[in-house]
């Protein structure tokens, strides 16, 4: 039976917190007094009775004017005839998926072949998930831009049963780096709308992060924290595989992600 304090610390990962609202602070452009913050609720009702009354009158007038027969009747009454034109702004055409190499716009580092990645100076055997087949693109990030020990990203385009990201066309992104997951660090940086669950992948401990996580921090090979961006901001499986931190991002169910992780060799 673990010590009470250890049990309490273990509970930290299991607490269901309310969703953290996204705070967008609008800072003053001139001077230093006009700060206001927008966060979730945004609009607030006017506090004064007169302001409330004025708002109610405006609402009634707007409602009457919005109704065509009423508007015409008012126009006849005041002998003013106005032609209202309804202009329709055409909807923007869907943005085509970026052409070129998959993941090119995800800022994953230098595009290389798998073989080049293996000889780029990284010091671990690149882990490949067999269930996804060969990656459609491979990128390497070395220090100073990447973590100490470097990082390798494997990009998978269209795959059956996996919905690709609408913006990037990437179905699955696998990122590997030397280091270890530091539970205390990364949970604080994931961002709002995220739930975390401890999982085990073939004996390796990991975390299933569902929601829209944005940031991820892990302890790099030199022992320092490395802050990274979860490029797809989708469900993510993270686990330690013998000193390599593996992240699998994609619009995946937990079972799909674990299946991909188990096919890694």
């Amino acid at each position: 039976m673990p010590d009470l304090e250890e049990q309490l610390a273990a509970l930290a990962t299991a607490i269901e917190w309310p969703r953290t609202p996204e705070l967008k602070v609008v800072l003053p452009i001139h001077g230093g007094r006009a700060l206001r913050a927008r966060w979730g609720k945004g609009w607030r009702l006017p506090q004064s009775r007169w302001a409330l009354a004025a708002a109610a009158v405006l609402l009634i007038v707007a409602t009457l004017l919005a109704y065509t027969p009423t508007r015409n009747a008012i126009a006849d009454w005041v002998n003013v005839h106005t032609v209202f034109h309804r202009t329709e702004t055409p909807l923007p055409s869907p943005t085509p998926l970026p052409s070129g190499r998959p993941g090119e716009y995800l800022n994953l580092g230098t595009a290389v072949t798998l073989d080049e990645a293996r000889h780029s100076g990284i010091e671990w055997k690149i882990l490949l998930p067999a269930s996804l087949g060969q990656p459609d693109a491979v990128y390497v990030r070395l220090p100073p831009g990447g973590p100490s020990g470097g990082a390798v990203s494997l990009v998978y385009g269209e795959r059956s049963d996996i919905k690709p990201s609408g913006l990037t066309g990437v179905s699955v992104l696998v990122t590997e780096a030397r280091g270890r997951v530091n539970e205390q660090y990364f949970q604080k940086t994931l961002g709002p709308d995220v739930t975390i669950e401890q999982v085990t992948v073939d004996g390796h401990s990991g975390y299933w992060i569902s929601g829209r996580p944005h940031n991820f921090v892990f302890t790099a090979a030199d022992g320092t924290p490395y802050f990274d961006t979860l490029r797809l901001a989708t469900n993510t499986l993270v686990f330690d595989d013998g000193g390599t931190v593996v992240r699998i991002e994609g619009d995946l169910s937990k079972e799909q992600a674990i299946q991909i992780a188990r096919s890694i060799s």
Binding site: L4, I15, T20, G145, K188, T189, Q198, S205, F227
Partner: protein
């Protein structure tokens, strides 16, 4: 955010010079811990949201008073936590904090069988229920230290008490919780 992030002191210096992007980064970095701290104090997500929002606005206005070299996180938490306490006090209502386990949470660490997983899960639920049942003072200090994972000085800032008091309060809270756990085990 990629590579080495700007450290807090750099962000503060930039924000003090009017760099709005720097303050936005501070907000982004600390909004979660600020909101959760406010939630632990106020016991309501809506009050926590208001407190965190107002806290960040007040912190911005007070940036010129931020002491160079001081730690940013406890300073922010102190402001947000004060705001949460003020809201509870002024509204005259106090929501009782009821922490729960995440739905679907499974202790995944080397549990050998589904039965063992179920037992471990049950134990965690029971422990959390015991924490919920503690006095507010005990619950707050335990939640701050273990669930929010605040350091000693951050807990002191959030609870508005000296760091030495955090230690003694935590020690007493743990003793009371331990007694309840043992009592339940012997029942």
């Amino acid at each position: 955010m990629e590579g080495r992030p700007a450290d807090d002191s750099e962000l503060i210096t930039r924000a003090q010079r009017g760099d709005s992007a720097a303050y936005e980064e501070i907000v982004q970095r600390y909004q979660q811990v600020a909101f959760r701290t406010a939630y632990v104090i106020a016991g309501s997500a809506a009050d926590a949201e208001d407190a965190a929002q107002e806290g960040f606005v007040k912190a911005y206005r007070a940036l010129h008073r931020f002491r160079a070299g001081a730690e940013l996180r406890p300073w922010l938490l102190r402001i947000v936590a004060n705001e949460a306490r003020n809201r509870v006090r002024s509204s005259g209502r106090r929501h009782r904090l009821e922490l729960r386990l995440t739905e679907g949470f499974r202790p995944g660490d080397a549990a050998p069988s589904p039965e063992a997983v179920a037992v471990a899960l049950d134990e965690r639920k029971r422990l959390l229920a015991m924490v919920n049942a503690l006095s507010e003072e005990d619950r707050l200090v335990i939640a701050s230290r273990y669930f929010l994972e605040l350091s000693g000085d951050e807990t002191a800032a959030a609870l508005g008490i000296p760091e030495g008091t955090v230690k003694s309060r935590l020690s007493r809270a743990l003793a009371r919780l331990r007694a309840r756990v043992e009592e339940a085990a012997n029942a």
